[in-house]
């Protein structure tokens, strides 16, 4: 196990020199005997089968994911995702930071929609502290989160088309994302990792630039979404390559612990915003869109429906926004009561949860981060066998994993 066979690669300093390198990254076959039943089964090849390596630096893997594909001709027989290239040990780091620092450590997990990954630990801490969040802060949180959801979904649609070979939709996705990111930058000062949520409230109040940008965007957002639908909704190539691809039925979806759009695309209306209402969602009107087909195309359409619902929510939030303080008064050093708390929200990818344990000190005793991408990504091993190699990307993109969250 420890004696990894070496392979030779050309030296970067001297092109004529061959140097030893550990074979682990470049070889699909691991340099150690199989450790589990499943691993032994996967790496035993029958006639005609071969292993190829996808990633870790492949653009269609949405981050640093390595997948070992076992193929027979052009068909995928089986696959084995290899994680850990982005693993930073955030849970361990959080155990060694105080409660306020946890927010910024959790921020880069779901980096496409980081409002969500910073909101959950904050909510868990508030549960442990029994803090009442001011209503205005709750409304601002919902506003920021729904904006971020739209920007994330817009990018998803672009990515999905990109992985199928359509280069244009991602540009349209980025138009939407760019405007929202500029807006949130005006609100938070950051474009990607906002670090905006605070235990007991938010970091800053709504300002003039944010509101004027938001007003501009709202005036044409719905029309623009309708417009971008016409690009791919009935595009024959797109529909043919996604309809009937990666079909999940309800029972399987529950058994595989799916959540978010992949779960709702099978017809189960599980949305944490309605199942376990948090923040001010009980006061807002919106629907939980579902689809019955459970294939990649259904997941794509579901994202479009969710964007429309989010615009509807933002509209209501702007009309109902109350006045008042934006943060509860809390001491600089937080010492929550000893106990356990589980908080979950609906992120663009599904149920994002944090299970926090406090022992009464200023640091979390245990902070478990449940990322939906991690559990959704696992389904790819079930959906891909039997499909073409090129469809692996379409299935993976339609599950929308973010490797920052998968690898923690």
């Amino acid at each position: 196990m420890t004696t990894a066979p070496k392979t030779q690669v050309r030296s970067l300093d001297d092109p004529l020199l061959m140097v030893d390198t550990p074979a682990t990254i470049y070889d699909a076959v691991p340099p150690y005997p199989p450790q589990t039943e499943r691993e032994a089964e996967f790496y035993a090849l029958r006639g005609g089968e071969m292993l190829i390596n996808l990633g870790p630096q492949h653009p269609s893997t949405h981050g640093v994911l390595r997948v070992v594909l076992k193929i027979d001709g052009e068909r995928v027989v089986d696959l084995d995702p290899v994680l850990g290239y982005l693993h930073r040990g955030v849970e361990k780091i959080c155990e060694n930071s105080d409660w306020h620092m946890v927010v910024s450590h959790c921020d880069p997990l779901e980096y496409i929609a980081s409002m969500f990954s910073e909101l959950v630990p904050v909510m868990a801490a508030e549960k442990l502290l029994d803090v009442k969040v001011p209503r205005r802060a709750d409304y601002i949180r919902v506003l920021a989160c729904e904006l971020n959801r739209i920007s994330s979904h817009a990018l998803f649609i672009g990515w999905l088309a990109l992985d199928l070979g359509g280069l244009t939709p991602i540009l349209y996705g980025f138009i939407e994302r760019d405007e929202i990111v500029e807006m949130l930058a005006a609100l938070t000062g950051q474009k990607l990792l906002f670090n905006y949520m605070r235990i007991g409230g938010v970091n800053g109040d709504l300002n003039h630039e944010f509101l004027s940008r938001l007003g501009d965007w709202m005036s044409h957002a719905a029309a623009r979404i309708e417009d971008s639908q016409t690009l791919i909704n009935e595009n024959e190539i797109f529909v043919k390559r996604t309809r009937g691809l990666g079909v999940i039925d309800r029972e399987t979806a529950l058994r595989m612990c799916l959540s978010g759009p992949p779960l709702r695309a099978t017809g189960i209306p599980y949305d944490v915003r309605r199942a376990h209402p948090y923040s001010v969602y009980p006061e807002l009107e919106f629907e939980i869109p579902t689809r019955e087909e459970g294939d990649s195309y259904a997941r794509y359409l579901l994202h479009l429906d969710e964007i429309k619902q989010s615009i509807h929510i933002i509209d209501q939030v702007l009309h109902k926004m109350p006045d008042g303080p934006i943060a509860a008064k809390l001491p600089r050093l937080l010492r929550p009561r000893p106990g356990r708390a589980f908080a979950a929200i609906e992120s663009p990818r599904g149920q994002y949860a944090v299970y926090a344990m406090s022992d009464g000190s200023d640091q979390p005793f245990r902070l478990r981060i449940h990322d939906p991408s991690y559990f959704n990504l696992q389904t790819v091993g079930l959906l891909t066998p039997g499909h073409l190699v090129a469809d692996t990307m379409a299935i993976m993109a339609s599950l929308d994993p973010i490797m920052g969250g998968v690898d923690k």
Binding site: T36, M123, S259, Y270, F342, F375
Partner: protein, 159 residues
Amino acid sequence: MAQRHDTTEIRITAGAVTDVMRTLHDDPDFRFRLLADICGVDTGTTMQVVYHVWSDATPDWLRVIVVDLPRNDPRLPSITFLWKGAEWGEREAYDMFGIIFEGNRDLRRIYMPPDYVSFPLRKDFLLPDDASRSPGMGIRHMEQAASPVGAPVRKARTD
């Protein structure tokens, strides 16, 4: 309005996991069909595995805590026969805590490299930063999993 939905909690031992989880999953009165989370916990003295399950029959999450797993050999049955998706959750708990789930077909490292030897989220796995919190310990190697005699291990005061 904060969520207050996770106050129902049951505590079981490792031997009861299969029966309890199967009843919760299959019984028509419970219908806990969705596994919201699975994680390991090291309390400093024992290991725990915590499941959160969701049912459409109740607005609550149910928290099932498997308590009193010995730290030197934590073992419990896998629940992959009910939730196939728990496989990676169990792999993560194995990778981070060394908890053995009997019946999981693919229980190997998932984040750490396959030749890694220790379990990073255990309380006696100290980061170099932690040395500053324990005077007299000095800096120790990160992968030194077993704590030396007399080393301070942070223990839960909750249970």
